[in-house]
Amino acid sequence: MKKRGRGLGCAWYGTGYGNGFPDVSSAFVEIHDDGSVSVLTGAIDVGQGSSTIFAQIAAEELGIDADEVTVISGDTDTTPDSGTSAATRHTYNTGNAVIKAVTQAKAGLLAYAARALHCTSADGIELKDHRVRVKGEPARSLPLAEVVSQARLDGERFLGSESYTARTTRVNPETGQGSPYWPYAFGCQVAEVEVDTETGNVRVLKVVAAHDLGKAINPLQAEGQIAGGIAQGVGFALLEEVQLSEGQIKNPSLSQYLIPTVLDTPEIHAILVEEPEETGPYGAKGLGEPAMLPTIAAIVNAIDDAVGVRITSLPATPEKILAALAGPSKT
């Protein structure tokens, strides 16, 4: 018989290296005389989309389009160190470094533009729609590219070089007090499963996933990360197990270590919760790793809801489920 059930899983996750370990990201920025920008960071984009995020950030700060920003990343000859693509940290940590470096490059540009536009202070200048404008007086404006190339002829360069360090502290081993991670990400998912009581097979039909990411700088990418996390969570919950024998992995290939195919992944509905993190770029914080965590608990709870058995070791294989359904063994 096939039985359906629903389960809930929640997770909180400290992003970044944590525990006072120096979690530093750096960025170099240059505003060019055609109004384009280059951003150099050590952050490697392994598909999570960090380079796109940095282009969006620089574009937002300078009133240009993201495709006018060239992001050069992860070249140890030319880019400053931004740490690893790990710990769900680049949007927050390296994103902050990019904002700081752009702000530094922009400060010189605003000061130069204030003189060019006969404005008393750089505070009165804004960058919008590829133009440098006096705030509140859109008629007093010049194209960004024109200002930067004129500045170049005057011997001025608009460069930024900055770092950002996450503000964690070591935990006091006596009191347990401290700030081991900063910031934290939160997520909650509901899974609906169908359990076949004859075979023990579990199908995950649907997962609804709500994740607090502070601010979705790129909602399409955010939804993609959530879907990817859920698929990995399905694998973790139902299929994947590294089998060791005397220190050797017994299943080191994709024919023995199965991961979900498109036929194993559920319908996914992502909900982006934007509760701003005040230290993050535009309020953003990380999302990558937390996306897979609630899936596992949600599936295991849904199995319980469907057939009333509690699986306490992963993966929840058909063998384990059948054994649990058969009741306590009489040995």
Binding site: G224, G228, L254, S255, T265
Partner: protein, 154 residues
């Protein structure tokens, strides 16, 4: 041994070793590195190419077996500025993360749509089920194939 095959519309004549795979000659001799090796054992689909209209795992095809056949690799589809509809749909739907599975995914989708321009959801999923992806959760990939098939009502 000598083999002759058509790769992306161009006739190629090659001297190959009997144990060389189609994957090897595409990548190492013709430098068509868009075709990826994931597992080398026919499980992941990263090495998918189209041979005479059908998808094959090029890691499971000996070079000698490709003699006399026509092979399409990802390099044979669109180019920057003139992308194939499947490639465009992948970009528009955000169906690419690390990109390692993408060439194989795109070719599987193309082969499906060549055979049936209006597949249903199930048929799309089955056609794509030989291609593993670790990043996307397949969600956006399915949407991209649906979009390419003109199934997405906007």
């Amino acid at each position: 041994m000598k083999i002759e095959l058509k790769v992306n519309g161009v006739d190629r004549r090659l001297e190959v070793e009997p144990e060389e795979r189609l994957l090897d000659i595409l990548r190492e001799r013709l430098h068509l590195t868009g075709t990826k090796e994931g597992c080398g054992e026919g499980e992941c689909g990263a090495c998918t190419v189209i041979m005479d209209g059908k998808t094959v795992n090029s890691c499971m095809v000996l070079a000698g077996q490709a003699d006399g056949h026509a092979v399409t690799t990802i390099e044979g589809l669109g180019k920057r500025g003139s992308l194939h509809p499947v490639q465009k749909a992948f970009l528009e739907e955000g169906a690419v993360q690390c990109g390692f599975c993408t060439p194989g995914m795109v070719l599987s989708a193309k082969a499906l749509l060549d055979r049936n321009p209006h597949p249903g959801k199930e048929e799309i999923a089955v056609a794509m089920s030989g291609n593993l992806c670790r990043c996307t959760g397949y969600d956006r990939i399915l949407k991209a194939v649906e979009r390419a098939a003109g199934e997405v009502e906007q």
